[in-house]
Subunit: 424 residues, 2 copies
């Protein structure tokens, strides 16, 4: 397989004004990377004829594959077809099916169709037309002097539909893609990026196939492993071996791969163990339980939960004794402990988890913003209370608290599971 | 003021692999647009010497201002300095303050400093050095044959710091920016993008200064007004006049401008009227109340709230009669009504709002995914229940429900306020 040099060009003044980020280029790049196609350039240019032509000319000169997004709409600003015509001198003709689709759209929406809307159905005479089931303007592919040009609408849902349904499958044959690329994102929680990198430093710097790329996000760290092989099985087996080496060192912090989230993992473990979870949330204000209910199938684990944001509500809804609050305050180990026990009691759940603290920006009860207590009771075990100090804005403190709640639950659930298994 | 033609170049293979989106280019573009500097091109290129040089050469030829982000780090991959040297043939020298900063970082973190880390302190001999208080590698500005080059680190927080503290203020003088640009984003809820555009069609197509740009996002629509004037006051006054015209037509749907969110507006109105809000959430699982508690100062409005995800919890925590659930189901007008009344009662709040429905992916109680009931009771007024059918994934249905809850509350609170005011 020869190296395919690809270039992605986004057309649209809204990109140059910074109104939106070029997420199309990111998504397309990740799809091409997964097929072993090398992206060498991204470009963005506005709705301007001569600058479009300049950009297209450079692409024709230096790339094997050019993917253009945007500029296919009905207005005079939409410049992609005209500029591309300077490159390939092909006539534009109306594609009957696309014209029908445009007409149908206006009929269905009971809106009059102005003549310029037919422009969206224009395609190059030798183009392979890509019917757009998600919108009006079709995509198209044109081969010109050994360069394959792909034109796609700028609306992300339409672009993605056409890429997945038509374009990516076409590339497989067209470019005779033989190298198989496999990648897996390993996800870790409870360890910082620098510590993880430090522990794996030798591996990371010596590895070339598979490669290891660390990626930090709020409260967790990922390692992307990417391998190339002649067959998918060969590539997969290289990933498996490397993963085993990494997990033998850092397995305690690993919670899952690829699209798995820590919430999903907590939900899955709870289901496996038939445990229900109820939360009593103060500073996190419902965000913890929302993270579980986001997931399909949450109802067997989450039955009910409360948000008690004021001291009064902690008394009224959870029955925290006024005397306790008076003595220790609501931002305290004692209050977190009582909240976890009492929500478990109230909902009759197997697990009670509580969050109380100071999100900021102001201090509260003489405690600094970022002071957070998390209480956890599982079945009739003693309640455990964890004390943290998180730095950052109100938003960061709340997010870190929620993430930490999942992390603590995950490690508890996993430990119980493994100690049970080893005891069998 | 002559037109300044700017170009933004991002350096980094992680961009071409699609691991991250080029949000740096978006942010810089929006800042330049606000200063009246025209961005004509965005480019992204990997950590490759010859392609960096090719990209830099094109920029030197066609632009007045080139902003480069990334590629200033310590590793051999970091190519920006070497490639730029091909353009300006200036020597690289060590900047003493930056060298101290790099050394200090390693000392402070108790880590050994490898010699290649000093590379980060290298600057062009005639550069204006921009000290990086947020990281290690300094930024720099170099003038070469009438083109101003700005080099910035790729880490967004460092890039933004240097832009705000050093680069943008410098541009003001350097480019003699005289035109003042003012913009305001008007935010509307309860009306679709196409309907809003349709109502304002004549205005949108005829306006050139200020311009009007519609922007849709989930469940709401924005209109960005942007004006240019010789003075800020002139630009502001143009925005004010146009805003008045737009609001005289569409004011019923307008809720605020710029960074205001609908949650913020609901919180502000509730505070003004000294009303507290409690929610009983089923399918929205805490996301509604979380949206309020996210905001500083929420505690005077949100005291407590419940998530009752199962029928059993609706009975136990909210006292919804089992007979009602048996007869109508939990996804029903009757249940939404009882939930709104009972949460208001339980928390002794002024407003009770309830959410019950089917988020999907599966049907529930014979109701299709997307079926949603929202109940609202304000003080002792009769409960109003609204019935919706939202299309989309579980995530979309839940988000649309939450947004709709804010929209309904906003319109109720605003109506009460204006009828009170007009009755004074």
């Amino acid at each position: 397989m020869k190296t395919v040099k690809a270039e992605i060009i986004g057309i649209g003044t809204e990109l140059l004004l910074g109104q939106i980020a070029n997420t199309n280029a990111q998504w397309i790049s990740s799809q091409l990377a997964a097929q072993g196609i090398h992206v060498y350039f991204h470009g963005v240019v506005g709705d301007n004829f001569s600058r479009c032509v300049e950009t297209f000319e450079a692409a024709q000169r230096r790339s094997d594959l050019v993917i253009v997004t945007g500029g296919l709409g009905p207005t005079e600003d939409d410049m992609t077809r005209d500029a591309a015509q300077k490159i390939f001198s092909q006539k534009l003709i109306e594609d009957p099916e696309s014209a029908r689709r445009v007409e149908h759209f206006y009929l269905k929406n009971n809106r009059p169709m102005s003549p310029n809307n037919r422009k969206q159905a224009l395609v190059f005479e030798n183009a392979k037309v890509l019917q757009n089931e998600e919108g009006m303007a079709p995509g198209m592919m044109v081969e010109h002097e050994n360069v394959l040009w792909v034109f796609l609408p700028g609306v992300p849902s339409e672009m993605k539909y056409l890429m997945k349904e038509h374009v990516l499958p076409y590339f497989q044959d067209y470019f005779q893609l033989q190298t198989e690329i496999v990648s897996e994102m390993l996800r870790f929680i409870g360890i910082g990026e620098s510590q993880l990198e430090h522990e794996l430093q030798d591996l990371i710097s010596s590895q070339t196939n598979p490669t290891i790329a660390p990626l930090a996000s709020e409260g967790e760290v990922g390692l992307r492993l990417t391998s190339k092989g002649d067959t998918e099985e060969e590539a997969r087996s290289m990933i498996r071996s490397l993963k085993n080496v990494i997990l033998s060192k850092m397995g305690d912090y690993y919670y899952g791969s690829d699209d798995i989230t820590i919430q999903q993992e907590v939900l899955t473990l709870s289901k496996e163990k038939q445990l229900t979870i109820a939360a009593a949330e103060s500073l996190t204000g419902g965000r913890f339980i929302d993270g579980l209910i986001t997931l399909p199938g949450a109802s067997s684990v989450c039955e009910g939960s409360v948000v008690t944001y004021t001291p009064d509500m902690k008394e009224k809804m959870l029955g925290i004794p006024g005397a306790l609050i008076k003595e220790y305050g609501t931002v305290s180990e004692a209050c977190a402990k009582a909240m976890a026990m009492n929500i478990k009691q109230l909902v009759k759940s197997d697990i009670g988890i509580s969050f109380t603290g100071v999100a900021g920006p102001d201090s509260s009860e003489g405690k600094e913003p970022g002071t957070v207590y998390i209480g956890i009771q599982i079945k009739n075990e003693p309640v455990e209370v964890y004390h943290f100090h998180f730095n950052g804005t109100r938003e960061t403190v709340r997010n870190r608290s929620v993430k930490k709640g999942y992390e603590l639950l995950f490690h508890r659930l996993k430990k119980d599971l493994s100690s049970k298994k080893s005891g069998q």
